[in-house]
């Protein structure tokens, strides 16, 4: 079994996918961290112009932003949804200022968190698709499935070794992501900030933000927390990719189907957020990290536990379907 898993990992490595993924990560992290620093500098400049103060400590900048948000709230052009969202932002910002938590100055730690948040719904799934879409469908389109399945190894072992290899590689991708976003963003952002405090655990009670359950942890813990959620999401994505790769016979259609479900899922979330079924779709639940910050929810009735359960169900069902289909399949390529 270990030999089989090693073979599978070796095949993936030979296809130079890890190199492609590394390049993509470096590119995105580089652009993103450069951009974040650029925006921060602009914000300081804007602050200096407006206030005529020489002091641009984070408290001052945060206070300025707070005032701007409150002004926005008074405007009559903002729809109700937008008002809710702004209210939540105001309350959080007030909590940060009261509790001496810096939400303004960029740091490597915060960049990590921000990058995970931004990538967890689309970029990270995309990396998993690069990694796994051809895992089985590729063997079909290259017809190598014929040599793979005519050795003296039962089919379930072949499939199991592929699944385990994919999960190992997925874990590797998360580690790679952490490594690259820490080192590359350090080039543009001066502060590390892993020991700074962060607040998490905001909850919504009757549509209002509640700070009662908020806990303060260090940035390092918070970053790790975000990465573990991303890891979980990545594992679920691999299971789904794995199933699609088992069901179709060409790499192209495998990639197409998963991408379509991802993008279609995002649309569903925006346009049909009132429809109850939407919250059971896997794409709607991918963004686990939003539960840590307490930003406005598109679909009601969802929580961290709910999403984790839904995603787990999707992953388990995907794996079961994969095995069920693969063990019975007639290989006619």
């Amino acid at each position: 079994m270990i030999t089989l898993i090693r073979n599978e990992i070796y095949k993936t490595l030979l296809k130079k996918k890890i190199i492609l993924i590394t390049i993509l990560l470096i590119l995105f992290v580089g652009l993103f961290s450069y951009g974040e620093n650029y925006i921060y500098n602009q914000r300081i400049n804007a602050f200096l112009e407006e206030s005529n103060q020489g002091d641009y400590s984070w408290e001052n900048i945060a206070n300025q932003r707070l005032e701007r948000l409150k002004k926005n709230l008074e405007s009559s052009y903002i729809p109700e949804r937008g008002i809710k969202s702004i209210k939540i932002q105001i309350e959080q910002l007030e909590y940060f200022i009261d509790n001496n938590i810096n939400p303004v100055t960029p740091s490597v730690a915060r960049f990590n968190v921000e990058f995970v948040k931004q990538s967890v719904t689309l970029f990270l799934p995309l990396l998993i698709i690069i990694l796994g879409a051809d895992l089985i469908s590729g063997e079909f389109s290259d017809k190598t499935i014929k040599v793979l399945l005519t050795r003296a190894v039962p089919r379930w072992k072949i499939l199991m070794s592929k699944l385990i290899a994919l999960l190992i590689m997925t874990t590797l991708i998360i580690l790679l992501m952490a490594l690259i976003s820490t080192t590359v963003s350090r080039l543009f952002i001066d502060r590390l900030g892993f020991d700074e405090p962060v607040a998490t655990g905001f909850q919504f009670v009757n549509g209002e933000l509640s700070t009662g359950s908020v806990i303060r942890i260090t940035s390092l813990k918070y970053t790790l927390l975000n990465y573990s959620l991303a890891w979980f999401v990545a594992l679920v994505m691999s299971a789904i990719t794995f199933m699609i790769s088992t069901l179709v016979k060409s790499v192209g259609s495998a990639i197409g189907i998963i991408m379509a479900s991802l993008i279609g899922g995002q649309f569903l979330q925006f346009f049909l957020s009132d429809w109850v079924m939407v919250k059971y779709f896997y794409v709607t639940n991918l963004d686990l990290t939003k539960y840590l910050t307490g930003s406005y929810q598109q679909v009601e009735g969802m929580s961290l536990v709910f999403s984790v359960l839904v995603l787990s169900a999707w992953a388990i069902a995907s794996i079961l379907i994969s095995f069920f289909v693969f063990l019975r399949k007639d290989i006619l390529v």
Partner: protein, 303 residues
């Protein structure tokens, strides 16, 4: 009873409610080269795929070296090596790495076995190059090495010479023949070319529309010549052949066909003339697959 390496018993395969394979049975003994002859789409590949476990028989059983393919899959498969249609390898790896990866999936395949297999197929000089740089013939040879590294007792080759040049075909045959001679393995090979079966096989099963319509020793099939007469009254000729020589014949497009040995032709001709038939011409020719099929379907012969 001699030890059977492969035994296929009453195997039927239904795909999409269509009976693709109808009650096929065949047996191969040790050291035999068995040909599987039939036109494209007759069910050759489907049958071979069932033997190597790529598809499942709907009913019936297949045993390899005494192990059932459905009940003892791993033990049965340990005794088979195969190339199904064109040889498929991982294009992005070297030939040698392909063999190492596939070898690692069987028990007890040593580095030495792999090197020996590569030497046997004559690919030592190119084994470290990527497969995508290989010619069709080279891929075929690595494909053959792949089928041999675990020392199987039965080699299954599906249209093995498709896409090879004459030289490649010749070399390929030499390798297969020497394998049978030196190691005593059995070979089941499918082809739509009768010349190939004739050159390589001891026995042949002819398959058409998912049914085996004839099983015979190749020598027996090719011993008799195929004679055709153009007569003024072919039906009368047919009766004469039946009554006086006890030879079955058939009439296709007003020609009378029969399989008889050469020394009989003169005797048949003189009887025809005595009976008042007019012979326009007589021709003999070696059998072709086409003739064989026309003949078999005309006779509706089932062995």
């Amino acid at each position: 009873m001699t030890h059977k390496i492969l035994s296929v018993k009453d195997v039927t395969k239904i795909i999409n409610q269509k009976k693709i394979i109808k009650d096929i049975s065949l047996e191969i003994s040790q050291g035999e080269i068995y040909g599987f002859l039939g036109p494209n789409g007759a069910g050759k590949s489907t049958t071979l795929r069932m033997i190597v476990g790529l598809t499942r028989p709907t009913s019936g059983d297949i045993t390899i070296s005494g192990y059932s393919i459905t009940k003892d899959y791993v033990k049965a498969m340990a005794n088979v090596g195969c190339i199904i249609e064109e040889p498929t390898l991982y294009e992005y790896m070297s030939g040698l790495k392909n063999l190492e990866i596939l070898g690692s999936m069987s028990n007890n395949v040593s580095k030495k076995d792999i090197i020996e297999a590569v030497e046997l197929v004559g690919m030592t000089h190119r084994m470290n190059d990527q497969v995508k740089t290989y010619s069709m013939g080279m891929k075929q040879r690595i494909g053959l090495a792949q089928a041999l590294i675990h020392q199987p007792k039965l080699l299954i080759l599906d249209e093995p010479t498709n896409g090879l040049d004459p030289q490649g075909i010749y070399k390929f045959r030499q390798i297969i023949k020497s394998l049978v001679k030196d190691k005593g393995i059995s070979v089941l090979l499918s082809s739509h070319l009768i010349s190939e079966i004739q050159l390589m096989c001891d026995k042949v099963a002819i398959i058409n529309k998912g049914k085996i319509i004839k099983k015979a020793r190749v020598e027996d099939l090719l011993l008799s010549n195929r004679i055709s007469w153009v007569l003024d009254l072919p039906k009368k000729g047919k009766t004469i052949l039946k009554e006086q020589f006890n030879i079955e014949s058939s009439i296709i497009e007003n020609k009378l066909f029969a399989n008889i040995e050469e020394h009989l032709i003169e005797a048949v001709n003189s009887v025809f003339i005595n009976e008042g038939l007019k012979i326009k011409y007589v021709s003999t020719k070696k059998k072709t697959l086409e003739d064989l099929f026309l003949e078999l379907t005309a006779y509706k012969a089932i062995d």
